[in-house]
Every structure is written in structure tokens, then in C-alpha cells.
Symmetry: C2
Subunit: 182 residues, 2 copies
């Protein structure tokens, strides 16, 4: 049920359309919460029906019109309530790790190749996220940013995403090497 809250959080200090959220979820948010664009539209509609968001048509020139969404007071309350509610620890759920777990049933070379490919993807994503984080700092030191910025949420969550991708890349390379050495 956190997709709803991820959407609310993404709209905390700005108005965005479904399409803009799609791109945001593809790149930045996906590092800690993945969702397909279709699902975003479904949940945006529900959130609006529940009065947590309001949508406004924006007429554009040179491209199709869009509907941007804004948090309502009820939406902000709901988000605050969510941050206070207890959460159970969740963990990784990754096909690739299940494949590694099943290593004995796999062709070592082919599994290693998949791991190396994923390592590369994760490295790319980690780099992108690092750039985004650097952009948020706007020249300030991290320490200063965390003390003074208005909304440090995206920086905190984005940092976890960057760490995750870096670790994933490192583990994939290590596991691939282990398989290659057999």
C-alpha cells in the first residue's frame, strides 16, 4: 500500500502530471519503490477520488494537454499518518538472487554472464543517482545540506538507492567471478 504514499510524497512540494510521475518513478523513485506507469494512473485516480489529491487540467502548446496533481490537506495528513505508523522490515526480492541461490542447477558461465550484465546496469544506475544527489546539493556540502535544506527526503531515500545499486554491482561482479572460477 506504499505506492499511494510514494505518490503523495513525490507531490509534497510540487505539482506533477501522471506522465511526469512516470518518468520520476522510472528513474529516481525506482531505486526504492518500483511501479509501472499504468499503476500510477490507477492510483492517482483513486487518490483523487479519496480526496487526497486534486487534479487540474493544464493546457499546453506544442504538446498534448496534461493533468497535474496537487496534495490536499487530507493528503498531507494521510502522509504524516503513514510516517508515524509502524512498519515491518521488508527485504530484497530479486529474481537474480534466487538464480544465484539455485546456482547448482545453472550453467555457471551463463549465470555469470547475467550477473555481469546486471553489474553493469547497476553501475550505470548508481552513477545516475549520484549525479542527481550532487545536483540536489547545489554546491553545498552534504552536511550543510542535511542541516539546512527544506526537504531532505529525496536526498535520504536517493542515497539509499545509490548505495543499493553500488552494492548490487559489487556483489554481482564478485558472484560472477566466483562462478567463473569453477
Amino acid at each position: 500500500m506504499a505506492l499511494r504514499h510514494a505518490l503523495l510524497a513525490a507531490l509534497l512540494d510540487r505539482e506533477l502530471s501522471g506522465y511526469q510521475l512516470t518518468k520520476l518513478f522510472d528513474l529516481d523513485v525506482s531505486s526504492f519503490w518500483h511501479a509501472a506507469s499504468q499503476q500510477l494512473y490507477v492510483d492517482l485516480a483513486k487518490l483523487e477520488a479519496d480526496g487526497l489529491l486534486t487534479g487540474h487540467e493544464v493546457v499546453q502548446q506544442g504538446r498534448p494537454n496534461k493533468r497535474v496533481f496537487r496534495l490536499t490537506h487530507a493528503g498531507l495528513d494521510e502522509l504524516t499518518r503513514f510516517t508515524l505508523a509502524p512498519t515491518k522490515p521488508t527485504s530484497i526480492r530479486d529474481d537474480l538472487l534466487v538464480k544465484a541461490y539455485a546456482a547448482r542447477a545453472a550453467d555457471p558461465g551463463k549465470l555469470a554472464a547475467q550477473l555481469e550484465q546486471r553489474a553493469e546496469q547497476s553501475r550505470t544506475k548508481a552513477q545516475y543517482l549520484a549525479e542527481q544527489l550532487a545536483r540536489l546539493l547545489e554546491g553545498r556540502s552534504e552536511e550543510e545540506y542535511l542541516r539546512t535544506a527544506e526537504n531532505i527526503g529525496p536526498y535520504l531515500a536517493g542515497t539509499r538507492g545509490r548505495m543499493y545499486e553500488e552494492e548490487q554491482a559489487a556483489w554481482c561482479s564478485w558472484a560472477a567471478a566466483a562462478l567463473r572460477g569453477r
Copy 2:
């Protein structure tokens, strides 16, 4: 659809009952694929109906009888097929990160407290996983183990789980400190 394959992989070189799998998934496997015990029984029944597993009643003394499951040839084939199939990158999906993302809507102290609590849980879990990994080595060096052991899958996947929990703990502590310093 990887729960099926995680079950098959867990049965790669041993017979286990639903209850034993429950405990395995609670502790070891949960670090890379979480599943509730009810779901295990449902999927075990399906896997048996699909001919990928066979179940055998085991009469026990001093405790209720159990049914242990064993991979069939078809089950092993299916697992091998799975390891060859392409996989899309998946990522974290964690309520706690969404909460961090929504930091601006949260009470900093209360969110920090939740992060610190999670840091503690992750540290405990990382420690448990480290012990399990050390047990697998049976005194050998990691390098030797990876070269010579029969089935290195659990060690590879378990290592990722341990890394994840360690990183999670480190990030949680860092993020909590950032929130406390405001």
C-alpha cells in the same frame, strides 16, 4: 513467480517439509526472498500438482508427522530453465524508504526513532547471516570454499543478504542522525 523457484532451489540438495521451509524462509531465504508460510504451502501443493516436486509422508515419534518434498527431474529442469531466462532488474521496495522520502511530512524525531529501531534489527539479522555463512565455510577460506564446494548458491545469495542488512543498518543510522540534527 520466483517463489516457486526459490522453493525448488531450497530443495536442490535435500528434502524438506513445509514447516522446515517455513523456518528456512523466515531466517535465511528471507534476506533475498520473503514469503509467508501460508504461501509456501499453497505453492508446494501447486508444484506437486505440476509434477515438479513429490511429497512423501514421514512418520515421526514425539511430534506430528510431516510431509517432505523432493525435486523431480521435471522440477530440476524447470529450475535450470529459470536460471537461463532473462530477468529484469528489480529494486528495493521498502515502506521505510518511502517514509524517508516523505521526511518533510514527518516528525523528525519519531522518524529517526523508527530508523534507529530498524538499524538495530538489520544489525541483528546481518549478524545471524554472517554466522550462517561462517558455518557453511566449515573452517575453509572463502576462496577455497567457492572453488570447491558442491553448491555455492546459498553462500552467494546469503552473502548478498548479509551485505544488504549491513548497508541497511548503516543507512538507517546515518539517516536518523541527519534527522536528529535538525
